[in-house]
């Protein structure tokens, strides 16, 4: 509701919002600043002005090739997302348009799996990966990340699909469309905005996933999250290098997030207000 707000209050709230935003953003900003410092500057203490050296970036690249983990990240994030959509679209269709008495329970059960700590299933999954040769492979990570994010993808799509009037799908059925044609020609195009935000969010989740990527890879399939980790443990105090690696790992997803923020916000708040 529109309400008269005095200029003073507005200024006050604006400043407060900026302060909070800066506080939240500061660790990331300081990481970026540190990445442009020399190692000596990095451990010297708090300083917001770096010497703008690219030394750390060069060392990161020579010591541990950036291109491969970057490629791995792209393949794993995009691959697991597309695979999740292929599985989730029919699943969400069934739950939205052909619900049974158990549909709500299944949805809740799917969501409840997200409440379980991942480490609880680490050992069985680790052993499965070892025994099936999936360890340190991109396909293995694509599968595991797809499974991890599937509940969220199904839920999001289900919410979108429920907004689509069932009569339109019935019209397609009357017009002679098979179930597959109904999903491909009618449901999916109508749900494009929803599918797009689901896709974006899932790519970000998969890109940022660190637990499984670190546990289940060594070198071949290691994505950027494992790439950062590889700089932290053995060389604990090389803050500048670690910062450079982190900056390189988060930059692509930050840029993507920036350009797609409209879609993302719509996706996350969809259905909140009709």
């Amino acid at each position: 509701m529109a309400r008269a707000v005095s200029t003073q209050t507005k200024i006050g709230w604006t400043i407060a919002a900026w302060v909070v935003a800066l506080l939240i953003f500061f660790p990331i900003l300081y990481t970026v600043i540190t990445s442009f410092k020399t190692e000596q500057e990095a451990i010297a203490g708090f300083d917001l002005i770096p010497s703008f050296t690219l030394q750390s970036y060069g060392e990161v690249q020579t010591q541990n090739d950036y291109i491969r983990p970057f490629t791995n990240s792209v393949i794993i994030a995009v691959g697991s997302t597309i695979l999740a959509l292929i599985v989730a679209i029919p699943a969400a269709w069934a739950m939205a348009f052909a619900p049974t008495k158990q549909t709500k329970n299944i949805l809740m059960w799917m969501l409840s799996t997200k409440m379980m700590p991942a480490v609880a299933v680490l050992v069985p999954i680790y052993l499965i990966f070892l025994n099936t040769g999936l360890m340190d492979t991109r396909i293995g990570l694509v599968i595991i990340l797809m499974l991890m994010n599937l509940p969220i993808v199904v839920w999001m799509l289900y919410t979108y699909f429920r907004e689509i009037p069932g009569e339109i799908l019935e019209a397609a059925r009357m017009d002679g469309a098979t179930l597959g044609q109904e999903i491909v020609h009618v449901l999916t195009p109508m749900a494009v905005p929803g599918i797009a935000s689901t896709l974006l969010l899932n790519i970000i989740l998969a890109w940022n996933e660190a637990f499984w990527t670190i546990q289940l890879t060594t070198t071949n399939a290691a994505p950027l999250s494992a790439f950062i980790a590889s700089f932290s443990s053995p060389q604990g105090l090389f803050w500048a290098k670690l910062s450079a690696a982190s900056t390189m790992a988060i930059a692509p997803i930050l840029i993507m997030g920036w350009f797609s923020q409209k879609q993302l916000v719509r996706g996350l708040t969809f259905g909140a207000v009709k």
Partner: protein, 332 residues
């Protein structure tokens, strides 16, 4: 093409029996209207014929073929929905062509058919627009266009006019009747509006609580309703019912007199009463009368009838226009 037979069709949703068993014969080329109050199962019956719902038991035959277990696509029927159910992401042309595309018809033939349908429905100039850019009436025409291009065995209409405003509704009513005259294809039309039923139907099926109350031509139902429900449902304004002493004198539990079948007088007659509201419409006059015996009835006079609120009036049923009903509601 287009004869539809329902044999003891039943439908339950869980424990709720919506259609307790319907037998119906629809002849080829007929315009059949399912009419009844909301919740009477008329839409469900249509959806069973369409194949959008599975029957619980019974059989549905189209042109002698048992389609009870066939999917909607296999039945060769086309449906027009209340909400139009157009594909919002496709142009009008693509919407109309969609069933042809699904049937894998050659492009040239598709285009020819869409153009022909667009011409019939005056949609030529809108073919490249999206449904969102059309008015309600135009959308309804697109929905009809999508139905006619397939040259279906029968058309199913599910309250197609209820989202339109009154003036447009009258126009579309005439257009659909006109279309039926041109195509001579079986049409099944669901409505709760008895005016639509009376004006469009060859055959009306009156439903109540999932049961068929009466099947017949509009005038059959008007002139000889099988029971009190049909008498009250068909005709506008509704039939007046009088019970008690007056009915008993005529050998019935209740009698029904249509508003247009009263003779009115300001001096004498069978039922004295007082005018409540008098609606002077010019073409006719509607009088809401409270009879001295307590019933409220409506009487309609052609042209102007000069009485006003509070005036005394006498109503007398016209000869042979009194419907007698037994206690169980059936016509006596």
């Amino acid at each position: 093409m287009g004869a539809i037979t329902l044999q003891n069709v039943r439908k339950s949703f869980g424990d709720v029996e919506v259609i307790p068993g319907v037998d119906l014969e629809i002849n080829e080329g007929e315009f059949v209207v399912f009419v009844g109050p909301s919740g009477c199962g008329k839409s469900t019956l249509l959806r069973l014929i369409a194949g959008l719902e599975d029957v619980t038991s019974g059989r549905i035959l189209i042109d002698g073929q048992d389609v009870t277990d066939a999917g909607p696509a296999k039945r060769g029927l086309a449906m027009v929905f209340q909400s139009y159910a157009l594909y919002p992401h496709m142009s009008v042309r693509k919407n109309i062509a969609f069933p042809l595309k699904m049937a894998k018809m050659p492009e040239a033939e598709q285009k020819a058919r869409v153009d022909r349908a667009a011409k019939i429905l005056n949609l030529d100039s809108y073919l490249d627009r999206r449904p969102g850019q059309l008015s309600g009436g135009q959308r309804q025409r697109v929905a009809i266009g999508r139905a006619i291009v397939r040259e279906p065995a029968a058309f199913l209409f599910d309250e197609p006019l209820s989202n339109l405003d009154a003036a447009l509704r009258v126009n579309m009513r005439v257009e659909i009747s006109d279309l039926h005259n041109k195509l001579k294809t079986t049409m099944i039309y669901v409505t709760h509006d008895q005016v639509e039923a009376m004006t469009m139907a060859d055959k009306i099926v009156v439903l109540r609580a999932g049961r068929i109350e009466q099947v017949g031509s509009p005038l059959d139902l008007y002139n000889s309703p099988a029971n009190r429900f049909v008498g009250g449902f068909i005709g506008s304004p509704n039939m007046n019912f009088i019970e008690g002493e007056a009915a008993r004198r005529m050998g019935a539990h209740s009698i029904g007199v249509r508003p247009e079948h009263w003779r009115m007088s300001t001096t004498e007659g069978a039922f004295p009463g007082t005018v409540g509201v008098a609606e002077h419409l010019g073409s006719d006059t509607l009088l809401h009368v409270e009879l001295d015996s307590g019933e409220n009835v409506i009487a309609r006079a052609e042209g102007e009838f000069p009485v006003h609120h509070g005036d005394k009036i006498w109503l007398t049923p016209q000869d042979g226009r009194v419907y007698k009903f037994r206690e169980d509601g059936l016509a006596a």
